[in-house]
């Protein structure tokens, strides 16, 4: 599934996780901590500066059974989106 940047920007966000400035494994630790507060089928947005997060968050989502929606780079940091599936 390919989601365009415009579609990502239009999503209703249940929770924003700011992991900017942290390095591996900071962003997935932050995602793990925050996902509990997201309702099922809600969207979580992760902000990150570590470029490895582009690969790590999809892998984390897959393993956890959530749907990774996509990402874009804006103003020097990353916005990544996933939908909580269970």
């Amino acid at each position: 599934m390919t989601v365009t940047t415009e579609e990502l920007k239009a999503l209703t966000i249940a929770q924003v996780v700011d992991a900017r400035g942290t390095s591996c494994p900071g962003p997935i630790l932050a995602a793990k901590k925050a996902i509990g507060g997201v309702p099922v089928s809600g969207v979580m947005e992760v902000l990150a500066t570590d470029s490895g997060t582009l690969k790590d968050l999809p892998a984390w989502s897959k393993k956890m059974g959530h749907e990774f929606l996509g990402s874009f780079d804006d103003a020097g940091y990353l916005h990544l989106y996933l939908r909580k599936m269970k």
């Binding site: 494994p25 900071g26 997935i28 393993k63």
Partner: protein, 159 residues
Amino acid sequence: MDTTRKTIILFSGDFDKVMAAFIIANGAAAMDDEVTMFFTFWGLNALRRPEKVATRRKSPLQKAFGAMMPRGPGRLALSHMNFAGAGPKLMQRMMRQQNVMSLEELIATAREQGIKMVACTMSMDIMGLRPEELIDGLEFAGVASYLGDADEANVNLFI
């Protein structure tokens, strides 16, 4: 075989290798895996309390071992480019600059995430390390306990 269990043997007491072990362990725990870390030989030094702990009934050789080995994560040496202790300090400075979690933080996070940390009692006996010299929250066991966990895991690392 379960894909939600991981076991890591930490044999090395080198700062960089201990870092790697805790990063992998914390990553796995963040992915909801049950993680067992088994600390043996030099790896036990990562679990030592930084302060000197008075202990009884140690042989002179065990005392000498205890005095020569590093006490805790702040005193571990690098496996390469240690430069008589300057290397780890430089590495730690670079880690701070890059916002990488410190080893102390990684160990604390491992405990928060419920990672099972097991100290090898046989190694402790050889090296004369007593439970009171190690941080709280550890289990004390031997090879069968580790193998029991490894049997149920799909990843096992020896670091």
